[in-house]
Amino acid sequence: MIIKEEKIDSSFVLSPVGRIDANTAPELELKLMAVLDGGETDVVVNFHMVDYISSSGLRVLLMGAKKLDKAGKKMKLSNLKSQIMEVFNIAGFTAIFEIS
């Protein structure tokens, strides 16, 4: 899966492209964990180019959220399409992220 990386001001932005399912989630996990282990605490996952997410994707984001929580921070998620937002809603995941 293609995952774009950008540093915008103090934020580190990851923009995955396409589907985040059990097949592609490990790639997102590797990249996200590398960014967090590198000490970034202002992390944004931009969903602009994501058209699908399964529980495998949520699992990776939760792992990231748990790491950031130890630093007293919330992971930021942006540009979620309505159907993707619905997946976060039914999972009870909206409160653990800062969603814009």
Binding site: R19, D21, A22, N23, Y52, S54, S55, S56, L58, R59, L62, M63, A65, K66, D69, Q83, V87, I90, A91, G92, A95, I96
Partner: protein, 134 residues
């Protein structure tokens, strides 16, 4: 009846999604319904591929999609270990970030998104039957 046969390899998930999309597009099924079916089937297939087989061999998983008036019925068949997803516990969605367990949402998504879920085990075959009204 539209049918697809896949191997027990997670890279097949995109083929499953394409299959559902192609069949549904011909029947004018709403986008949100297609998304829900895709999510439920994706979670079910992921579980079978990830946990269903105790050997390293190639296995086939069969998926049929039957579109009726206002109802879609999906049947998933595999020769993996017996597993009835209806017997799994519901996750506690209220837990905070520290308490939330990693994983365990897939089967909950299937139950949340489908109107009917049935499981049968016959002749060493798991059959999961999902129904969605629209």
């Amino acid at each position: 009846m539209p049918k697809i046969e896949i191997n027990n390899d997670l890279c097949e998930l995109t083929h499953v999604a394409d299959f559902i999309k192609n069949v549904s597009a011909k029947k004018n099924i709403p986008e949100s319904v297609i998304f829900d079916i895709n999510l439920a089937v994706d979670e079910a297939v992921t579980n079978v591929i990830s946990y269903g087989f105790k050997d390293e061999l190639e296995h086939k998983i069969f998926l049929t999609l039957h579109v009726e008036e206002n109802k879609i019925k999906i049947t998933l068949e595999d020769d993996g270990v017996e597993f009835n997803p209806l017997l799994s516990n519901e996750p506690d969605l209220e837990k905070n970030v520290k308490e939330k367990p990693i994983g365990g949402l897939g089967i909950y998504f299937i139950k949340a998104k489908m109107d009917k879920v049935n499981y049968e085990r016959n002749n060493n075959i798991n059959s999961l039957i999902l129904e969605k009204f629209y």
